[in-house]
Amino acid sequence: MAVNDISFELEPGITGLLGPNGAGKSTLLHMMAGLLEPSAGQVLVNGESSWKNAAMYGHIGLVPEREVTYPFLSAWEYALASARLHQLPQPEVAAQTAIDMVELGDAMHRKMRGYSKGMRQRAKIAAALVHDPDILILDEPFNGTDPRQRLQMNTMLKELGDSGRTIVFSSHILEDVEDLAEDVIVVIGGRLGAAGNFRQIRRLMTSRPHAFTIRSSNNRALAAALVDRPYVTLVSFDSDVMEVQTTDFGAFTESIAPLIRSSGVALQELQPADDSLESVFAYLVAR
């Protein structure tokens, strides 16, 4: 997926890269990791371009989404190989530390071809951590993890983030990002949807006007009742469909049912006009 006109800076701490599938998150992460060449603009890591820069891998750890493990190796051998390839002075120590951090100690001598997906994921993370990198890039690390693994990974990443590293991970699930990241970058359809502090963006999201379409036995009577409310900003008619816009999602949804009852109207259809992530961030982008 091509990305277009995206600029941002990453600081130490944890940043979440959020967006629907196919939005371009992997593209961005691969560019950061020097595995894709930007056709315009630059990607700088610690001031240097990430493209054609093999030396920078001493400071970066990448946990790709795809399979990068050798089935004939065990997690221990894999982490050890990684440590040796980084030319660490004490590869065994580094490998053991990494394995312990991802809690693969029990299974570390089994061949990875017999691992579950979650275990392979942890092996990947261990291999990416052996050299104690300043920057950690994780592509969809929560994919296919169960709640317990998710908790584990959360704790581990929080620890790493607190120690001053720059961590960026991608996800298409809001909750994953919510728990973990202070800053978030939202990417939709290859474009930047939002960037910055997560809570602020969340607040912006809930304060945007929401639209609903309503079909009832007497639209106009219902409309009269709605227009009275302060949080209703727009009521419009189109044959037998009524559209209502409101700035307070919570208040509207709380009161719509009693309102319908009291106006004596029979409700036939009530649905959000467009609640997709796209529309949310289209709104944000337009601001």
Binding site: H30, A33, G34, L35, L36, E37, K52, A54, A55, M56, Y57, G58, I60, L62, P64, R66, E67, V68, T69, Y70, F72, A81, S82, R84, L85, H86, Q87, A127
Partner: protein
């Protein structure tokens, strides 16, 4: 660090199934040689020499050797790229030329390990006096050089395209087999001819016959060898530096 790369590559290349298939394939010329030995044809020195050269030249140099080198050469790097494990290697602070060099080295050793003994064994079985005229040694040398050069070329090719295997096959079977036969001057660009040139330096049979027909002198062969190795290393390194992860 080198050891890790070597060990990883070797373990991938010499998997059980692949080794078995290649072993079986290379047993074929030996089988034919043995059948020949026990048939009525075996006997006269000159004829057996020619038959040996013919068998070795056609079956091994034209067919099996390039194929074995192709298999090892494309698997060495290409399989890693296809499987995704190449990303593991490439996201390390290792010089790209080192990766290419080791991939080429391991593939060459693997290929040579199979091909050179087969060549020498086949020659030894067929010929009355294989060490005379430097036949066995010369063909063994040619096989070694060919293994290295083919592997170098195909490792470099797999860094450039994911379809290295089929294009490698076309190079071997259409270019080297046909095009060079039709247009003599094209022999200057043929790994097989370089290998024959090296063999020629050691073999001293005058009348080489229809099958074994080296066209290049030793100097040309050596120069050609250097060019192939240099181009493969440089080209492969360049391609690997600009490696982009696929869809």
């Amino acid at each position: 660090m080198n050891n890790v790369l070597i060990s990883l590559t070797a373990r991938q290349l010499l998997g059980r199934r692949r080794t078995l298939v290649i072993g079986l394939l290379l047993a074929l010329p030996i089988l034919i040689a043995v059948i020949y030995r026990f048939s009525d044809e075996a006997g006269s020195g000159e004829a057996t020499g020619e038959f040996a050269l013919g068998l070795v030249s056609v079956m091994i140099f034209t067919l099996l050797l390039p194929l074995v080198a192709l298999v090892f050469g494309t698997a060495s790097l290409g399989a890693e790229i296809e499987d995704g494990t190449a990303v593991f290697l490439l996201t390390k602070p290792i010089e790209r030329w080192r990766i290419i060099a080791i991939k080429i080295g391991v593939a060459s050793v693997a290929a040579a390990l199979f091909v050179v003994p087969t060549t020498m064994a086949t020659t030894w079985i067929i010929h009355e006096s294989p060490t005379a005229d430097g036949l066995m040694l010369g063909l063994g040398l040619g096989a070694l050089v060919a293994s290295v050069l083919y592997c170098a070329a195909f490792v470099a090719l797999s860094a450039v395209t994911s379809r290295a295997l089929i294009f490698g096959l076309i190079y071997v079977f259409v270019w080297e087999t046909f095009a060079t036969r039709i247009f003599d001057s094209l022999r200057w660009v043929s790994i097989r001819e370089y290998a024959h040139g090296w063999s020629d330096a050691v073999i001293s049979i005058n009348d080489k016959g229809v099958f074994y027909d080296p066209h290049l002198g030793v100097t040309t062969a050596i120069v050609g060898t250097m060019v192939v190795l240099a181009t493969a290393c440089a080209g492969g390194t360049r391609a690997l530096t600009r490696f982009e992860i696929g869809e």
